[in-house]
């Protein structure tokens, strides 16, 4: 029983990070109907931003501490938000009228570019991510281990999800984002500045990816330029699982993927771990393609 509970906790921790990355994916897809393949690499850049920032911040604030963590995460989020906007401007905006697949290929190009430039600039070897926040083992009751990092990750994910819901439901720009996701032409006709809203969406999504990157690096303190590929793909699966374009769905999807992967890995076979996320994806798309919480999209002819 203990083993099962422990695996559940492991799965939840892993799932929260996937959920955070998935939020960014689902937002961009919901508004632009395209998979930003480079999202996983923004996640990686967030982690690296934190890596380079941490020693600078350590000059002002004590590390490890909550304060240092917040500051580093905040600045990384801003840095990545800017990067996201730049990428959108240079690589995606000119292709807005183009077939979806052109943009998809461009996104793949951007992703490869970020990965290999990362290898060139940062070096390919994994780097130790500095201890940003203090880590405590929390409980060891009955053989169960939870540590503070896992709780922090879960908490921050929840907070950001709530913040995101607030932005999309209660703010003006959030409403504009939702309008754009329903019908871009009508939204433009209503006087919404499409370009600004799209840039904002990218900025927001990238900031979320950066936050996920920092949290990931805190939990698994070895970062390298290729670290975003697999989490990115799994997070996309999570977003689809939850219903693409649906925020709580993405979070739920992330948790489900995290738990499923952990349970299958621990109980059945860890050699098939990579394939599990895809297996789940295929299943869900066969059974309920709109995802767990998605709307059925009817294509009018």
């Amino acid at each position: 029983m203990t083993e099962f509970l422990q695996q559940l906790i492991n799965g939840l921790a892993l799932g929260s990070i996937l959920a955070l990355i998935a939020l960014g994916y689902t937002m961009v897809y919901g508004i632009l109907r395209f998979i930003n393949f480079a999202h996983g690499d923004i996640f990686m850049l967030g982690a690296f931003a934190g890596y380079y920032l941490a020693p600078k911040i350590a000059a002002f604030l004590p590390t490890p501490s909550v304060g240092a963590g917040l500051v580093v995460m905040g600045i990384s989020m801003v840095v990545c938000a800017v990067m996201g906007v730049i990428i959108e401007r240079l690589a995606y905006r000119p292709l807005r009228r183009s077939p979806k697949l052109t943009v998809l290929i461009t996104a793949i190009g951007v992703s490869l570019f970020l990965e290999y430039s990362g290898q060139f600039v940062f070096g390919a070897a994994p780097k130790k991510f500095p201890d940003l926040i203090p880590t405590y083992p929390l409980t060891h009751l009955g053989g169960l281990s939870i540590n503070s990092n896992q709780v922090v990750v879960f908490g921050v994910t929840l907070l950001l999800l709530l913040a995101l819901r607030f932005v999309t439901l209660k703010t003006k720009i959030g409403t504009a984002m939702r309008a754009l996701s329903f019908n871009p032409e009508a939204a433009a006709l209503m006087g919404i500045n499409t370009d600004v809203v799209i840039s904002f969406t990218f900025a927001l999504g990238s900031a979320l990816a950066a936050a996920a990157g920092i949290l990931y690096a805190v939990s698994y303190p070895a970062i390298d330029p290729l670290m975003g590929i697999l989490p990115g793909l799994k997070a996309f699966v999570a977003a689809v699982l939850g219903g693409i374009g649906n925020l709580p769905g993405a979070a739920l999807g992330g948790i489900i993927i995290g738990v499923t992967e952990t349970l299958v890995s621990g109980y059945i076979s860890s050699t098939y771990r990579d394939a599990i996320a895809f297996g789940v994806l295929i299943l869900i798309l066969l059974i309920k393609p709109s995802g767990l919480m998605g709307r059925k999209e009817v294509e009018k002819v």
Binding site: E3, P126, H140, M227, T262, G266, S270, T271
Partner: protein
């Protein structure tokens, strides 16, 4: 109709283009110009980019330093060595292309490479067919040298290393029941695990559970929890330092206190920074230790640090040694002819390498001792040497 005709025209043009390309290749003879003037061309292929870039870059740095050292004292047979390095991008299919290029286009006399056994296995038949000696710095799969009499390696092989660790854990550490956590994507890891399991069982030990992960994974909690449930005395992790550090961290976080041990894939100056306290009291076998007080090793470490701002890891040291034994063989053969150099390589005996005294055995593998290190106070500390 015009449409289809146009397509056919383009097709024909395309084929003609290919034909032309083929013809340009017609006039390049093979290795005739390998020893033109005063240069000896040696080819190297390594994973300089891609998922295993860190190992390729390390071994390349070692190899390059060896070539520079050799050239600084006048080269070999009075000629300077030119190292032609090709990047195989850690990608299958690439070694076949680049090694062919090095041999037929560039006319190299020998090939150095690679770290990954799978990529060495891809290139070895090509070198063998062309009678070009190949020296792998760090591939440990026995099959590599089985390809033919021109294929050598500067390191020991998995069966030896696996047995070394099995004996050490069983007899010295006196562990009874052990778990194995291997990298399913790496033939190195699988090979080492296999031989360890055989050795450990032969010594009367028991493998209680086996789990696996993939290189690049960061989360091992699922596997470690399953391992913890079986209560082993120790965990054998025959993987690379890139994952081992995290595995140790997560194991301690889950409350696993037993020692963890592994093979030469652990050897790197990045291991302890990542794993930290979690690695205290763990063991691994390797080819050499940068702590080794012998002047040759210390000199190598010092000069490497000066050039690359990093302590050389096992890959770098092996890259260095592979180039050195090749140069030594060329010297002893008195020529760069492939068959002669191969024979000289096969006769290598007690060559003083950075990674120990290298003797090439009948299977063209390096017979040399393994060194067992432990981590204490954040440093690698020498424990013992195990002779073959």
């Amino acid at each position: 109709m015009k449409h289809l005709r146009k397509q056919i025209v383009w097709l024909a043009l395309g084929l003609a283009g290919i034909g032309l390309a083929g013809l340009t290749g017609c006039n390049k003879p093979a290795s005739g110009n390998a020893v033109s003037g005063d240069i000896i061309k040696v080819g190297e292929f390594a994973s300089l980019t891609g998922s295993e870039a860190t190992f390729g870059q390390s071994s390349h740095q070692g190899t390059q330093m060896a070539v520079d050292d050799l050239n600084a004292v006048g080269g070999v047979l009075g000629k300077k060595i030119q190292l032609l390095t090709e990047d195989d991008q850690s990608q299958a299919g690439q070694p076949a292309t680049v090694v062919r290029k090095l041999i037929s286009r560039d006319g190299v006399v020998a090939i150095l490479g690679e770290v990954a056994s799978s990529r060495s296995l891809e290139a070895a038949p090509i070198c063998q067919q062309n009678r070009i000696p190949m020296v792998s710095p760090a591939s440990t799969n026995p099959k590599v040298t089985e390809t033919g009499d021109c294929i050598f390696r500067a390191c020991f092989i998995d069966p030896f290393q696996g047995t070394v660790m099995a004996n050490f854990t069983r007899k010295t550490l006196k562990l009874q029941a052990v778990a194995v956590l291997s990298d399913v994507k790496s033939d190195y890891s699988l090979g080492l695990a296999k031989f360890f399991k055989e050795g450990f069982a032969a010594d009367g030990g028991k493998i209680v559970v086996e789990q696996s992960y993939s290189a690049g994974d960061k989360d091992f909690n699922a596997q470690l929890t399953a391992i913890k449930a079986e209560n082993p005395d120790g965990i054998f992790v025959p993987g690379y330092y890139t994952e081992v550090g995290l595995i140790a961290l997560q194991a301690r976080q889950l409350g696993i206190t037993v020692p963890i041990f592994g093979g030469d894939g652990w050897e790197s100056s990045s291991l302890v920074p990542i794993g930290g306290q979690a690695l205290e009291g763990c063991y691994f076998s390797t080819h050499y230790s940068p702590e080794d007080t012998s002047p040759a090793v210390q000199d190598f470490v010092k000069r490497f640090r000066a050039q690359h701002q990093e302590t050389p890891d096992a890959m770098a040291a092996l890259g260095y040694d592979s180039a050195m034994i090749l140069a030594d063989a060329i010297k002893r053969a008195g020529s760069t002819d492939g068959t002669k150099v191969a024979a000289a390589l096969a006769a290598t005996k007690d060559f003083a390498g950075i990674t120990g005294k290298i003797t090439i055995d009948a299977n063209r593998n390096a017979s040399k001792p393994a060194v067992i290190l432990t981590i204490k106070d954040g440093q690698f500390k020498y424990v013992e040497t195990i002779a073959p």
